[in-house]
Subunit: 200 residues, 2 copies
């Protein structure tokens, strides 16, 4: 096993355990065992648990945003691109190991005691907000900032509701329906009302 | 100090520490010190950390829902009662020790490894969903279930966004604006369109 392979195996095991059970619930010995890498090699790759948590969150951030972008890019119409965010969520919620947002979980667990974890969680959400804002601009919303903020609430709410299974309906579908309503409300202020009689 | 006073002091200290820093980040010795109660008395009141976590979450659930209900009950019109949920959130977000939802945080931290914590978190959110549903029914929404689900996403999203300070605007205000839009959309399907000429 070369260093790169050891590195990836450790990170894969850490992600599965940290995301699945919580960061503090999992020790380095458990990650060593799950990855099949020696403790010496483990500490050669990651000098501390903090380093490993950092690498886990950074890789997950990158992969999550890339998967979301790919999902959005399957569509061309601005409205469909915006609503595709919720189709992406629906597919994610259906995965067998789904346990909410790794960054919301890590922030709730360690945000108050670990500045690096809090910073990575905020950066992940900041990038999501920027992505939603770009979609709101593409869709020609009059107030793209306000629409992006409202969409952000729906996305975060859907993730939390799905993680805790709070509703019988799929939270992604509920979020999509609400987003469609908000999008229409934001567009109706810019779109001329074609139903009005001419001259009025 | 009698037993009731010791009990309350321990619970107050535990709430401040667990909510402020996370459940696993805080040990019984720290709670003993912060409460000024002897370790012997501490274990007479709460046999284990699990018992204390349970009591902390149950008391917080009760207080939070009572405060929300009191906030709602200051209003009589169904629409205002529904939107008052977001005024309640805005006031909560402004408190100096606000660190998100204790139940979302506890679920993210321990939901996968503690069945009691996961159960208490789900029960807290279930009660919130029921409260929103009652408000949607009062407001005469055509599909109160769907409106309640959508409002739940906005409430959860606002709490998460406020905890992580994801937006420059107040997430409660954004949530309220979105909720007003959703409420109008849900009502417009039942309210007769008074602008239509008679006979049409």
């Amino acid at each position: 096993m070369d260093r790169q392979e050891a590195h990836d195996r450790i990170l894969d095991a850490a992600e599965q355990l940290f995301y699945g059970r919580g960061i503090q619930a999992v020790g380095m010995a458990e990650i060593r065992q799950a990855s099949g890498v020696s403790l010496k090699r483990l500490y050669q790759c990651f000098a501390s648990k903090e380093d490993l948590v950092d690498a886990y969150l950074r890789r997950r951030d990158q992969r999550w945003h890339q998967a979301l972008a790919e999902h959005i890019d399957r569509h061309r119409s601005p409205e469909r691109r915006l609503l595709a965010v919720f189709d992406f969520l629906a597919a994610w919620f259906d995965t067998s190991d789904f346990r909410g947002c790794a960054f919301i979980n890590a922030f709730g667990e360690l945000g108050a005691v670990s500045t690096p974890v809090a910073g990575l969680a905020r950066a992940h959400k900041c990038a999501l907000r920027a992505q939603l804002r770009a979609l709101a601009v593409e869709a020609d919303a009059e107030d793209a900032e306000a629409l992006a903020d409202q969409l952000l609430l729906l996305v975060e709410g859907a993730i939390v509701a799905a993680a805790m299974r709070q509703t019988h309906h799929c939270p992604a579908e509920q979020g999509k329906a609400a987003a469609r309503g908000l999008l229409n409300a934001h567009l109706s202020t810019t779109t001329p009302d074609l139903s009005a009689p001419p001259g009025e």
